[in-house]
């Protein structure tokens, strides 16, 4: 039941009607409708996944209550650790078991010892990384007294299974979601209208932009050795467009659905491809995940390292910089691993870490250089060049994200640097796709100050003119959408 499919539309109309017309005066009933809907939605993919979701939700609910019951930290710790083991253990079993076993076997075989390994055919439950992260943040926040353990079991189950965000985020943490779940939602016309517009833009991004890139990206990446350099650059560019339009499109739809149900779900993308530097990019891309890693990985690691090194310098390296390097390396290795059990993701994560470290190291020299050459930091051409540079390095790093393995990614990149880089790509493409991509980025540029690109367009226009704008988007979807249904990329994470 994809968000962009007819069964989902029918499902949502039914949920919306029950939620606002039948159970609109009672909080418990509102939440009950959402809980049942969320379990139906999730079970639609595979009912067996429901058992795991229920187990994780219930475990965290019960352990959080135990944590809050105990006064002393030492008494709380066993429950906290138990919850962490359950959450992380589940993730490892379902997502990383075979990967780690393979890795271990390879490591042992390096020493010349022959090992026969046992791997299992484990199905990866959809959205597991997302709801496990919700659970981890919940249990940590409760443990750190930032959040009260929820007493109502239905509220807890709903927090971890809320259907707009369960499959691919945004990872709207319980600390932000629970207060909304525990308050009766009253229909807000403006919020609902904004939700509809956001869904419309999300559908355009997914069905017109992302899905139309899929065919070209798949052909080029699948058979990259038979294409010339410029075609490989084109493939990397189209994947760069695809992954953004796909994931940000999904997030827009999820947030829009949340708004229709009276929820404010956190923004997940803030026009990342218009970022001037890599740090800025990661502040704008998949914000719910990056802030999660910042709060639950980077800061604790940095805090821990800073506690261990008391001197100002450590082997000639500035301690502050060392702390940053350690925190970033661990965080980005885990961020990469979070995306999937493949070395490509780990390498991709480490590349982001290296970019960020370089950026961090270059901040002061850059400032000095600009001062020396009398160049304003706000110079438009300079901003444009920096933005283009950031986009280019991001595009190259996506090659690791998309490739089947690290070797192929390296070959792909080396294939780019040949003389055919300056020739015409030897793949026939549809000019309309590029027109649509251009139109898409123009709208995104003009709407970049808004929560989503079309949020502010036409607000002061006469109603018919504004409606016409939305109808044009609907028409473009109808005329140019891809008819090959592709699942959202982030579903596999």
């Amino acid at each position: 039941m994809l968000f962009t499919s007819l069964p989902f539309v029918l499902f949502f109309v039914a949920v919306f009607s029950l939620y606002w017309f039948v159970f609109n005066r009672n909080l418990k009933l509102q939440n009950f409708v959402l809980l049942i809907s969320s379990y139906i939605f999730y079970g639609w993919w595979d009912w067996r996944f429901l058992l795991l979701l229920f187990f994780i939700s219930l475990s965290n609910y019960l352990l959080a209550i135990e944590i809050r019951k105990k006064e002393k930290k030492s008494q709380r710790k066993p429950y906290f650790l138990a919850a962490l083991i359950i959450n992380i253990g589940t993730l490892i079993i379902f997502k990383y078991f075979n990967f780690f076993i393979d890795g271990l076997a390879s490591l042992i075989s390096l020493s010349g010892v022959k090992v026969s390994i046992v791997t299992f055919n484990i199905i990866l439950p959809l959205g597991i990384s997302f709801y496990i992260f919700l659970s981890i943040s919940y249990i940590i926040d409760v443990y750190q007294n930032k959040l009260e353990a929820v007493r109502n079991v239905f509220d807890a189950l709903l927090t971890f299974s809320f259907f707009p965000i369960i499959l691919a985020g945004p990872i709207h943490r319980p600390i932000g979601l629970l207060p909304q779940i525990q308050t009766l939602r009253i229909f807000d016309k403006a919020l609902a209208a904004s939700g509809l517009k956001q869904i419309l833009w999300g559908v355009f991004m997914k069905m017109v932009i992302a899905d139309n890139c899929v065919g070209y990206v798949s052909s080029i990446f699948h058979d990259f050795e038979s294409y010339n350099s410029s075609a490989l650059v084109l493939g990397a560019f189209l994947f760069t467009v695809q992954i953004y339009a796909d994931f940000a499109g999904y997030s827009n739809i999820a947030i829009g659905i949340g708004k229709l149900l009276g929820f404010n779900i956190m923004q997940n993308f803030a026009y990342p491809y218009f970022s001037r530097d890599i740090r800025d990019f990661w502040k704008r891309w998949n914000m719910s995940l990056t802030t999660w890693f910042r709060d639950y990985t980077f800061l604790p690691v940095a805090y821990w390292v800073s506690g261990k090194i008391k001197s100002e310098k450590f082997y000639f390296i500035n301690t502050e910089f060392l702390i940053y390097i350690t925190g970033i390396t661990v965080t980005w290795m885990l961020t990469g691993l979070w995306h999937g059990a493949n070395y490509t993701f780990i390498v991709w994560g480490l590349i982001q870490g290296v970019f960020l470290i370089f950026y961090h190291a270059s901040v002061k020299p850059r400032k000095r250089l600009l001062k020396r050459i009398h160049l304003s930091n706000n110079n438009s051409i300079f901003i444009f060049v920096e933005t283009l540079f950031t986009l280019t390095i991001i595009m190259f790093s996506w090659i690791f994200f998309r490739a089947e393995n690290v070797g192929e990614a390296c070959k792909y990149i080396s294939g780019i640097f040949t003389f055919s880089l300056f020739s015409v790509p030897d793949i026939k493409t549809d000019p309309v796709l590029f027109l649509m991509i251009a139109l898409f980025f123009i709208v995104e540029w003009f709407g970049r100050k808004q929560e989503y690109a079309i949020a502010g367009i036409g607000l002061k226009w006469p109603v018919l003119l504004r409606w016409s704008l939305y109808c044009i988007i609907i028409f473009l979807i109808g005329m140019f959408m891809s008819t090959n249904e592709s699942p959202f990329i982030y579903f596999k994470f």
Partner: protein, 328 residues
């Protein structure tokens, strides 16, 4: 909430009008197909289905009605059947799937009133979504409730967009001045529905990719409905698999399963087993018979019809003094 729902309702109405108008404008103003990704309207595309539909009134109460895909309109030569004393009409069309066949039968069976129906069951069409043939019929046939029903069954945006544009053209009679071309490239349309190809020989052998044909449940449902409709009118029918090259036939790994599926629905003649045709001499491509193959196949089928007495001939056998073929 009430005002929100009212606005949604008004916006929906506005969107319907806006969308339909845009489709019409887009269809009229832009000729390049890449700018009309999800709309495909072309009269006489692939074959002359519109000619067949226009000729229906000339073929009422024929002895034999042929249905099916290009394997029907390129294999059942109505002139050969006429020579043997059978009046016939070939209602095949490119990639015609059971969904389209059902629609055609519901629309025209009572007008045509054939004495026998020969339903050509090319297995591959049962695994298709039916869009290609659906678009062909949207451009060739009159739009009515049956057409809308077919489009809903196809449930694809391309079909919906083309339906809107086709209906506009029908309402404003925009197809009136279209020039009729009966010969296109190597193909000549013959009065009665058959399409004759210039004599060529198949030479394209290569490696065979073995594949299992999986039938769509929508196509099987439509197939069952079509047969029920035929039975309800009391018209006898036979199912025929017209021959394809051995090269092609061997690429399907589940032919026995396919045959038993068809046999469970009625009498079926699989000419891939009944005839031993040479791929190079009797076909012009991997799928279609050339005119030599057509002659062998039709003669063989007619012998079966004669022997089994499926239908009484309207005309006397005319093979001795065959008239020259009239081409349009």
């Amino acid at each position: 909430m009430r005002s929100f729902l009212l606005k949604i309702f008004l916006f929906t109405l506005f969107t319907i009008v806006f969308y339909c108008s845009s489709i019409i404008l887009w269809g009229e103003l832009l000729q390049n197909p890449s700018y009309k990704k999800n709309m495909h309207y072309y009269i006489g595309y692939y074959n002359a289905m519109s000619f067949r539909i226009n000729e229906i009134s000339d073929f009422k109460k024929v002895d034999i009605l042929f249905l099916g895909s290009s394997h029907a309109y390129r294999s059942f030569d109505t002139r050969i059947f006429s020579d043997h004393g059978y009046t016939s009409f070939n209602f095949g069309s490119s990639a015609q799937t059971p969904i389209q066949t059902e629609m055609l039968l519901e629309k025209y069976l009572d007008t045509l009133q054939p004495k026998l129906i020969i339903y050509e069951v090319y297995p591959f069409t049962f695994s298709l979504d039916g869009l290609e043939s659906g678009l062909d019929l949207l451009a060739s046939d009159r739009i009515d409730l049956q057409t809308v029903k077919m489009v809903i069954t196809l449930n694809q945006v391309k079909a919906y967009n083309t339906l809107i544009y086709a209906y506009y053209r029908q309402i404003f009679n925009r197809n009136k001045k279209l020039k009729k071309v009966y010969t296109s490239g190597d193909n000549t349309y013959i009065h009665g529905g058959f399409v004759e190809s210039k004599l060529k020989y198949f030479s394209g052998h290569g490696s065979i990719t073995k594949d299992k044909l999986v039938f769509s449940h929508l196509q099987l449902e439509a197939f069952a409905k079509s047969l029920n409709l035929i039975k309800s009118r009391g018209i006898p029918f036979i199912l025929v698999q017209s021959p394809v090259t051995k090269f092609k036939y061997q690429s399907w790994i589940n032919t026995k399963e396919i045959d038993s599926c068809f046999l469970s629905n009625g009498i079926m003649y699989n000419f891939n087993n009944l005839l031993n045709l040479n791929d190079s001499l009797a076909f012009y491509d991997a799928d279609h018979l050339n005119q030599n193959g057509v002659k062998i196949f039709c003669d063989s089928l007619i012998r079966i019809i004669d022997r089994k007495g499926y239908v009484n001939k309207t005309k006397p056998d005319n093979r001795q003094n065959r008239k020259p073929i009239i081409r349009f």
